[in-house]
């Protein structure tokens, strides 16, 4: 059963077509990866699906709800971790979770239990009452994933979950994503430009290039499609032309750098 489905989903920014008639279906329980170079349109797809950005044309449904007409229902059934660091550094980890527990209408009786188990699950119990400013990059990401999972959403969107993290922190985030899929049967849609991330986490991958899907399939299928013994990196280069990055622009670069710097 498709839990997220798009039909000719399109978004233009003035003359630029950031997402060009995307039609894709994600099945319940999948970890679905959107990969591609900067400016390929991955983040724009996510922003439309989480109701932050209206599409220019086309439609999409999340858990059966239309992303434009039923935006507030969509918001109840999704979790979302944006690319930029979204935990509030001037609050403690516990406070960050408390605020979202309230915004997602988790009943008062369950709230403390839910927060405690989220902190335990993400290995943050000891730092719960420290300011997030003192957290490491990996801890911040795990806290953000905890925030987005408090209300146990059936669909979770992770935009570049490991950008700027060191290999150890990246491994720990991957571990949690895998566990969540197993323990809660969460459908996960993530974007990444790390091919090894897509390879180890995703059941299926769509390679995006200039707003379109250039190839789609399981990592094994994609590798087989260009020849024996190919790596996913080679698949990536094959389908995106391997040209110098042309997208992104100053603001995106600035944002990625700032995120990286804050992750330290």
């Amino acid at each position: 059963m498709a839990i997220v489905e798009t039909w000719s989903l399109t978004r233009r920014f003035d003359a630029l077509v950031a997402v060009d008639a995307l039609t894709v279906a994600v099945q319940a329980g999948e970890v679905f990866g959107l990969v591609g170079p900067n400016g390929a349109g991955k983040t724009t797809v996510i922003k439309m699906l989480v109701t932050l950005l209206p599409p220019s044309s086309g439609t999409a449904q999340v858990a059966g709800y239309d992303i434009v007409r039923q935006a507030s229902q969509v918001r109840r059934v999704i979790g979302y971790v944006p690319q930029a660091l979204s935990a509030d550094a001037t609050l403690t980890g516990y406070e960050n979770l408390l605020i979202f527990a309230r915004l997602y209408d988790i009943p008062r009786a369950e709230r403390e239990d839910r927060i405690r188990s989220a902190l335990d699950y993400m290995g943050l119990a000891d730092s719960a009452h420290k300011l997030v400013r003192t957290y490491s990059g990996g801890m911040i990401r795990r806290l953000e994933i905890a925030q987005s999972m408090l209300h146990r959403p059936p669909v979770l969107f992770l935009d570049e979950p490991t950008v700027g993290l060191d290999p150890v922190a990246r491994q720990s985030v991957w571990g949690r994503i895998g566990e969540m899929r197993r323990d809660y049967e969460t459908t996960i849609i993530l974007t990444t430009h790390y091919m090894e991330e897509a390879d180890s986490l995703c059941s299926r991958v769509a390679i995006m290039h200039l707003g379109r899907v250039a190839a789609i399939g399981s990592p094994a299928q994609l590798k087989a499609s260009i020849g024996e013994g190919a790596t996913l990196d080679e698949v990536f280069v094959h389908y995106t032309g391997g040209e110098m990055e042309e997208g992104g622009g100053y603001r995106e670069a600035e944002r990625t750098r700032r995120t990286t710097r804050r992750l330290g």
Binding site: L52, R75, Y80, V81, A89
Partner: protein, 263 residues
């Protein structure tokens, strides 16, 4: 009907959650509150002390320093609120805004919660200004009902200007553009009002501008409620009507505009 009540209760709960979030942040960084108290103190001590010596300012029988005190309170609330948009852009740049907008929180509750937090900062300023004014010999009206009126006037003024600021932030989108626009607006808003001079002293064109300026209605209400012997020029009904009506309109418009910050 029960649906309506439940959704209003939900709205109030979300609004309070957002306001509480801001207060918790403030509690972690209390220095800000004190640094913000310096400016109103200078206005009262320097401007107030000097102009008190100028005869013939038609203050309605009040010493000038008394006349000035409500104006400075309104001004310090204005200064806190009008730069609120910078925090909105900052939170967008950090990524915080995206997660709030993707949560099932009514946009108006996000906007009103932030406005309420600006109002709470304004109330902290009020405590400091009341203390300073008492030291300077201003005869303050401490009747509990009137104090409640002062609280309401501060919260409404903060709602108007912080939401106005949020709308500017949603249009400007970058910190640079936002700061440019805010700097352009803040002094006209302050000077073209009855905050430091009676409107009667102004040339006719400026009188018109002052009457269109919501700050004048806030100051008018504060003058009637804060001071022993203070009177309202427009009437408290008009003052609060204007403040409440404009707050409601701006929160509604702000709720529509806020998502643009993240686009």
């Amino acid at each position: 009907m029960p649906d309506l009540i439940a959704s209003l209760a939900g709205f109030a709960r979300k609004t309070m959650t957002i306001a509480e979030l801001e207060v918790r942040k403030l509690r972690h960084e209390p220095v800000d509150i004190f640094s913000r108290a310096v400016q109103p103190a200078l206005w009262l001590l320097i401007f107030g002390q000097v102009f008190t010596r100028v005869p013939g300012i038609p203050t309605g029988g009040l010493p000038y320093i008394s006349f000035l005190t409500p104006g400075i309170l309104a001004q310090s609330v204005l200064f806190i609120a009008i730069f609120y948009g910078i925090a909105i852009i900052w939170e967008r740049d950090l990524g915080i805004t995206y997660k709030f907008l993707a949560s099932p929180t009514p946009r108006e509750a996000l906007v009103l919660g932030k406005a309420l937090a600006a109002g709470l900062r304004g109330l902290l300023q009020a405590v400091i200004i009341y203390a300073l004014a008492a030291l300077l010999g201003v005869a303050l009206n401490l009747s509990p009902v009137d104090l409640l009126g002062v609280v309401a006037a501060i919260l409404l003024g903060a709602t108007i200007f912080s939401t106005f600021s949020l709308i500017i932030a949603a249009l400007a989108k970058t910190r640079e553009a936002f700061m440019g626009i805010s700097q352009l607006l803040i002094f006209p808003l302050f000077f073209a009002s009855n905050a430091i001079f009676p409107i009667a002293l102004m040339p006719p064109w400026l009188q018109v501008v002052s009457r269109l300026n919501p700050l004048s209605y806030q100051v008018d209400a504060l003058r009637a409620l804060m001071l022993v012997g203070g009177t309202s020029v427009y009437g408290l009904g008009v003052d609060f009507g204007v403040l409440l009506g404009l707050s409601a309109v701006l929160v509604f418009v702000g709720g529509r505009m806020y998502p643009r910050v993240a686009m």
